[in-house]
Symmetry: C2
Subunit: 211 residues, 2 copies
């Protein structure tokens, strides 16, 4: 079986989620770098759009299939590599994890996606991104107060954690005041101590591709 | 065991997804109506925000737990009511379904969420909503050409279908030209012939709550 190939960009929080999941499960893969800003955006080239019609990273080629959408990939990895799970066993606990995943991946991140920021324009994009992360984090902080232990849901690392850390990275880029969100900040600090989160950071990206 | 309670609003496409899943699986439930526009938005009241910190519908109270986020709910319903499945068995087929779910729920719908439209303002909101649905549907059409049979993925109804039909309803509200998307339009027509999709439409909402 060929090694999985991940199309990724160092600054893409959606790509980082999948890099964390792959690292957590110890799955070796090959990275292909798609620079979202160089050449007007390499993701918009026909060659890449044929792989991913949304013209976004990440894409994952694995077991002779091409997958897009980070949440779908994490669920797939969980099903075919259940060792070192990223979901609890109890359905009522699983729903808590997926709730946090959805708040981040469906409620917060889509509003500071590159294409949205480009539509908003250079002048307003920092305020826009900050506004939505700030609003989303107020809700997420409330949710996490109810579910968190050492990590987002109890004391085991889950998909929710793989989504949280990249979102906090985005929050810092948009200069969100993290003092407002003590639970989120604590979880982020705790998670960044783990190898899977450290290894999957930007270090996978050659210096000349960092825009 | 008490009957599940769904907090819902007739025009919320996210709520409709869950109504479809519940109807498909034949799960009886009680509806509580949260009018997103009346009284400045009933979802913003403290009483409801305590249930759902994102101040959005739907919320589902089931098995003594309160759940938010439609995708998390559908995954939960699938796990605890696997009869009349909404996911295929093969992981590579499941990933196709979840990919479409994510494109809609993480890529398209979040950009025409009520709070986003309110931020954009009355003057620009129709153009904004139409722009993002149009853009998203171009990608979705490509994806569906690869996966669709009678329904979104092959010939069985899945979560992807439960997300598609409410999104087409939104597209029509924003006057998106559906002639551009023959696959999406065909699937929508086919799905609307099914009882679970018909029953879960707006008919669950008393006339006086339709804004």
């Amino acid at each position: 079986m060929a090694k999985p190939v991940l199309y990724t960009y160092f600054r893409s929080s959606c790509s980082w989620r999948v890099r964390i999941a792959l690292a957590w499960k110890g799955i070796e893969y090959e990275s292909r770098f798609v620079n979202l800003v160089k050449d007007g955006g390499q993701q918009k080239k026909d060659e890449y759009a044929a792989i991913n019609p949304m013209k976004q990273v990440p894409s994952l080629v694995m077991n002779e299939s091409t997958m897009t959408q980070s949440v779908a990939m994490m669920e797939y990895l969980e099903e075919v590599h259940p060792e070192k799970p990223l979901l609890p066993e109890d359905p009522l606990e699983r729903v808590k994890v997926r709730e946090i995943v959805s708040v981040i991946c469906g409620g917060i991140q889509p509003l500071q996606n590159l294409s949205v920021l480009q539509k908003i324009g250079d002048e307003g994009k920092m305020e826009w991104g900050k506004f939505w992360i700030d609003k989303g984090f107020h809700a997420l902080e409330e949710l996490l107060k109810r579910t968190a232990g050492k990590y987002c849901v109890g004391d085991k690392v889950t998909m929710a954690d793989a989504c949280l850390v990249p979102q906090v990275y985005n929050a810092n880029r948009f200069k969100v005041d993290m003092k407002q969100f003590p639970t989120i900040a604590r979880l982020n600090d705790e998670l960044l101590k783990l190898d899977a989160f450290q290894e999957s950071k930007m270090e996978d990206c050659p210096e000349n591709l960092r825009s």
